[in-house]
Structure formats: structure tokens, C-alpha cells
């Protein structure tokens, strides 16, 4: 559904052409970030968006702001998917989990979660969105556990991790093939979530530990 226009909340309304430019810039940034990393040249992004580099700067005072917005839009997509999962969880909670992941896979072409080389979403909006996702997924998982539909040792962090992984760009592979492989991966993973005599998992870092590093299961540096 996603009727929300990403990233335009809490801002003075823009003139129509300016709004269009802003949307084009964000779209160009999403693909450029996926292809080139968040260090992608800003004038390359402006070029792809069909606007002048100065126009980009008018909308986003620096690279950081642009990255923030793109990541924020990504988080919004995840939150959206989590909400839908909760909606459908009562019928079939495990299917809801799978639906969550496949929904993300469905958006993977334009989904930028914190990426290599990129600064990270630290603003209040980002924190707020991230804080909203975890409980939604935990609620889905709780329901699933109570129905015996899922192994008990899975946490929302495993889902977030999986979502982040299957949305990573796979450079030089056509989008269709990437999506097919990601889909198969999700299907197998979700089969692994079923309570079929699972081998117990090793301990997870706590949500708090990970949150202290601020982001969707990402590592590095």
C-alpha cells in the first residue's frame, strides 16, 4: 500500500516543482547508494535526478542529510512491513513473519538500510522509527510462540538481521536474479524457524547492546 510519500513529514510544503525535484533526488540517491555506496558523488546523484547540484544542496544541506533521509525512508518501509505483519499475524503468524521478509525483498531495489561506508541514522526520527519496529516484530513473534508456530529462541533481531542481509545489493547481478536468490534464501530461513525439533541457537547480543551501536544489525569499522 505505502500511500505515504517518504520523507516529507514535518516540513513546510514545497512548491510542486520543488517537491518533484526532491523526490527525484531521493530516488536517484537510493539507486546511487545501492550501486556505489553512500560515498557516491553528489553531482552524480544530481545528474541522475536531472537537477543541478546546487538544487540538491538547497534540499539537503550536506551528504549526511541526504543519507539520513534515504535511510529514514528505508526504516519507514521496514516499519510499514512490520505493521502489516502484525495485521496478518493472527491468521498465521509464521506466514506473517515470512510475509515481512518477503515484503522487504520485494522492495529491495529501492531499499537502503545502513550501508557500508555510510554515516548512520542518528536523528530523533530514526531512533523513533527503530524503536517502533522492534515491539511490532516482538508482538508477532510472541503470538507465533504462543501458538507453537515458531521455535522459541528467535528474536526480532534475527528478523532484522535477515531483512538487512537479504536487502543488501548484490553488485553486477541483475535485479531479477538477485530477487530470486533472496526469495529462496528467505524461504529456507523461514523453514528453519519452524519448531521442528530445532537445535538451540547460540546466544544473541541483546537489543540494548546492538542499539548502543545504533543500527540494524550492521558491523564494521
Amino acid at each position: 500500500m505505502a500511500s505515504r510519500t517518504p520523507g516529507d513529514s514535518g516540513r513546510p510544503r514545497l512548491r510542486a516543482d520543488a517537491a518533484r525535484n526532491r523526490a527525484q533526488i531521493l530516488a536517484a540517491a537510493r539507486t546511487a547508494f545501492r550501486e556505489l555506496g553512500t560515498a557516491a558523488p553528489l553531482d552524480e546523484i544530481a545528474r541522475r535526478a536531472g537537477v543541478n547540484i546546487a538544487t540538491l544542496y538547497r534540499r539537503f544541506p550536506d551528504r549526511e542529510a541526504l543519507v539520513q533521509q534515504v535511510v529514514l525512508d528505508g526504516f519507514a518501509t521496514v516499519a510499514d512491513a512490520a505493521r502489516r505483519a502484525l495485521d496478518t499475524a493472527p491468521q498465521d503468524p509464521l506466514a506473517a513473519v515470512e510475509g515481512f521478509l518477503l515484503h522487504l525483498v520485494g522492495e529491495r531495489d529501492t531499499l537502503v538500510l545502513p550501508l557500508i561506508g555510510g554515516p548512520v541514522a542518528t536523528g530523533p526520527e530514526a531512533v523513533e522509527l527503530q524503536g517502533r519496529i522492534a515491539p511490532l516484530l516482538e508482538e508477532v513473534l510472541a503470538l507465533a510462540r504462543s501458538r507453537g508456530a515458531i521455535r522459541p529462541d528467535v528474536t526480532h533481531m534475527d528478523l532484522i538481521t535477515t531483512g538487512a542481509l537479504v536487502c543488501r545489493p548484490m553488485p553486477y547481478l541483475p535485479a531479477e536474479q538477485a530477487k530470486a536468490l533472496a526469495t529462496r534464501h528467505v524461504r529456507i530461513f523461514v523453514d528453519g524457524l519452524r519448531p521442528n525439533d530445532p537445535r538451540p541457537l547460540p546466544p544473541s547480543p541483546t537489543h540494548r547492546e546492538v542499539a548502543a551501536h545504533l543500527h540494524l544489525g550492521s558491523e564494521g569499522d
Copy 2:
């Protein structure tokens, strides 16, 4: 275990000090690429390696050559892991599969597979290594299937995809936490490989299709 010195085949032997420099450059490149992407500044890499930038250029005529070698070393690690998996497969083929993936997770701090923004390994050595990995994994899988130890619809490409995903850098998350999450992911995934009434998988792109794009289950652009 990894007794191979990476990337030193088919080359006139280097003087001892030069070989040491070369190894330091590659090590520095591996971590820099994981942290900053393959667009990481070369002088930063030289600095970390403790050599002059011109020395780096002496060994690797351009960024491309450096990336190639790093990726090639990554492939060699994967091939190595696949070989070990085949060795242990007769005892417990599914455990061998898991061992393959966990081995990669164990090396994830220094493992660079084709990455965002990066050119891609296309040289004959890369093709040769890639062509060596697939049959090894297929042999493991065949054994597992014949023992009924695994769902029948999994292919080596699913394993490659999974290996590539769980080795992706997770920027801003400490290595320990990243490894823990990756390990849990692998454990669940492998549970999903068991032949417990699995739901059939959607079709996979063929090896040939993917190979045409030349790389370990990676996408983009």
C-alpha cells in the same frame, strides 16, 4: 586450514621485503574495503600498510588490480572452505554444509567478496576459482541428498548466496556482535535445510545465468 599464502601464484618471486609489503597492503586493503567500500582511498590503505603510496602502485597498477586480488583471495578462502566441507561430508553431510558456512563466518573479518561499488573479479584466475567451488559444494549436497539429510531442492547457489550474505560487513556493529548474529542466522538457515516436510522453493536462476554475470550471488546496478 588456510596454509595457503593468498595471491602469490604465477608471479615472479618477489624479494622478501617486497613480499612482506605486498601482504601488508592486501591486509590493509581487506579491512579498508570492508569498512569503507572498495572506493576506500588508496593512500589510506598505503598508510595502514605502512608503505608509501607509490609502493602500493608498484604492486598494483590501479585500484582495480588491488580489488581483484583481494576478491581473489576471498574466493580462495571460499574454495578452501568448500574443500574442507567435502572432506567431512561423509560423516555428516548437513554438518559439513553448516561447517562450510560457519567457516566463512569465522573469516568474515577479513573476507571480501564482491562488494558494492566494486569492480568484479573477471580474470581467468577468478573464473577458475569460481568454477572450482560449485562442483565441490554440489558434491557435498549430492551426498547429503542421497542420505536424505537435506531437502532436495537446495543448490550450491543457495549456499554461495548465504555465504556472501553472512559475510557482508555490518557497518558500525562491533565484530563480535556481527559474528554472533551471523552465526545465529546460519544456524536457523541450516535448520531450514533439513528435510522436515519443507515447502518447495521457488525456482532458482541457473548457475549459467548467474555465472554470466560472473559473481557469487551479488546484484546491483
Copy 3:
């Protein structure tokens, strides 16, 4: 005379300040190329032009482009001189030939014809200009021959060769002395064109042969 502004055809009109910068860059390049060869440091050229090196790159994407334009302007000067020669040929065709050469000598301080180490003008504009010069000179020569004012075996290529030679920089000699020596050379050469029982010339390469190598009587490599 020379009312043409060099190198500004077929381009979107530049802002006034940008056009000024462009002209200064070209002027600086002309003298730098004559002094240092076409490998002259671009930042030196930018410095002489009083602009930032990036501004130079904005106008000329690489050294090649800058050299092209400078050479193109040189060709334009030659074409201009040839046109004037044709204008005055009816009165005294041999004087017109001499005027052509002396005109070039007069501009030699800022005239850059294809030079050592330099790539060469191959674009359509260069070809067009070169193709325009030859017939003009041939027409002058035809008139001179019909009047018996010149030895019959001279071709426009001899004139082009001579023009190119006498315009070559003479490093370390002050411009005045260089011009004096070049002028004397032209005077003697033109005396050698008179039909005073000349010894026949050895065969010339054809225009086509030379044109296949694309440039005003230049050699090398």
C-alpha cells in the same frame, strides 16, 4: 583583420565571466605550450590564466581537449592568412605567398601548430579547417603559375610546411631575434620560389598521403 574570436563556435553561449576565463586559459595555454611543450603542467597554465585548476578542467575536460582547441585556433589563423593571401593575389601573387608566410611569422608568438609530444587535432572541426586551407593556397599558386610568377613545381604543401617550420618555437632565443631569423628565412625561401631557372624539385608526398596522417607537415614517432 582577425576579427574572429577563436574557438567559440558551436557551443552554448558562456556567461561573460566564464567566456573571459576561457579566453585567458587559452592564451595562457598557447604561451605555455610554446615554452614548455604540450606537456606543460596544467596547473601552471591555470595559474598564468589566473583561474583555479578546477575551472580549467570545467572548460576542458582533459589536456587533450585544451590542446585541440589551441591547435584549432592555430589552424584558424592559418586559414585566415590563406584567405587574405587570396584576396591580394591578383595584384601580385608571389607577394601574396610571401605575405601569407610573413603573416604567420607575425603571429608566431601565439601560434601553436601541432607540436612535439602533443596529441593532434583530429576532430571534425580540425579536418574541416585543414580541408579549407589547401584549396585557398592552391588557388593562389594557380594564379601565380598562370602569370609565370612562380616556379611551377611548388605545391600548397610546401607552403604549409614552411609555415609550420618558421612558426616553431626557438627555445631560449628572444622573440625578436627569432622573428628576425624567421623573416629572413621566409625571404630567402620566397626568392627560391621565383621562376629563375629553378632546379626541379624532388617529388612531394601527395596531399592525400600527408592528410592520412592528418596534420600540417609534422612528423615524429
Copy 4:
């Protein structure tokens, strides 16, 4: 005749292989200087000579020394040509003049006279050679004048200028074509030297003036 091996006088005798290397370096330098100017990369010259760059440095402590030697060899060729001209002058002094110029044209592929961008031959050997050339040519001219074989207002500097000009590289033109054009140019020029009612020449800079700038009719900077 040129039985002289250029540039090996007054030096401790080299080991045979070292002498060979030195000759190869000089040959490579001659062509590289003609193609790329005297700023040609030294390792390029070493590469063409088939020796290591450090070997080049062992023979020539810096670029300057290499250029000096190459130019010196060029002067030696000119002096040689002048000597021959004087030998043959008694039979036909104008033919001797032409022979001088054509001799230079014949060597133009390997003849490097002070060139654009190049430092300049200032050593005692250079001065000595230059000082030797002028009187030889003047003697030829005096003989020609006394026989009425030449216009009276030509000086040795005109000959030097002409020699320098016709030996300039003509980049991108095959050597054969360049030589043909240069030959024709010389033939016409020499016809212009004949005492056929010549128009008087404008004044020449004096030998002293030019010598103050140290070189064979060259200008610039």
C-alpha cells in the same frame, strides 16, 4: 664518414656491456626526445633502451646530463657536416651549402638540436663545438661569395637556422614523408640563395647577440 662514436670522448673506458648500455640509452633518448620532448620520462627512455632506470642514472647523473650529451652529439653531427661542406666547397660552393643542409636532413631522424622545453647545452664542450661550426660555414660562404655563387647577404646563421628548422620533428608524419618535405624545402631555400637579382634581406641579429642566448637559432620562453 662519422667514424666517431658520439659522446664517448674524455671518459674512462667503459666495460663493453656498459658501453653498449650507454649507447642504447643515448639512442633511446634521441628518439624519445624527438617524440616527447626533452621532458620525456626517464624510465620510458630506460625501458626503450632495455635497461633498468638505475642503470641510466649510473651513466647520467640527471636528466640534464643526458640532454647535454644528446645535444652535444647533435652539434657534433652539425660540425661534421660543416667540415664536409668546406671540403667540397672549392668545386661548387653552393652545392656544398646544399649538401650541408641535406646532410642534416639525412640525419634528422636521430638529430636532436636544442628543443622546446629542453635545458640547453652550456658545457665547455658545447661552446667549443658551437664555436667551431660558425667559422667553417662562414668560410664556405666566403668562398661562394667570392665566386659570385651566392647572394651576398646570407650568413652562417641563416644556414644554422635552416638546419635547425628542417630537423625539427614533425610529429605524426611518417619519417619518409617528413624527409621528403624537408628536402623540397631545402631545395627551394637553396635556390633562393642564388644571386639572381635577390631582394635584399632584412638585418640579421648578430652572431654575438644570438650566441648570448647560447643556441642554434632557437627561441621561446
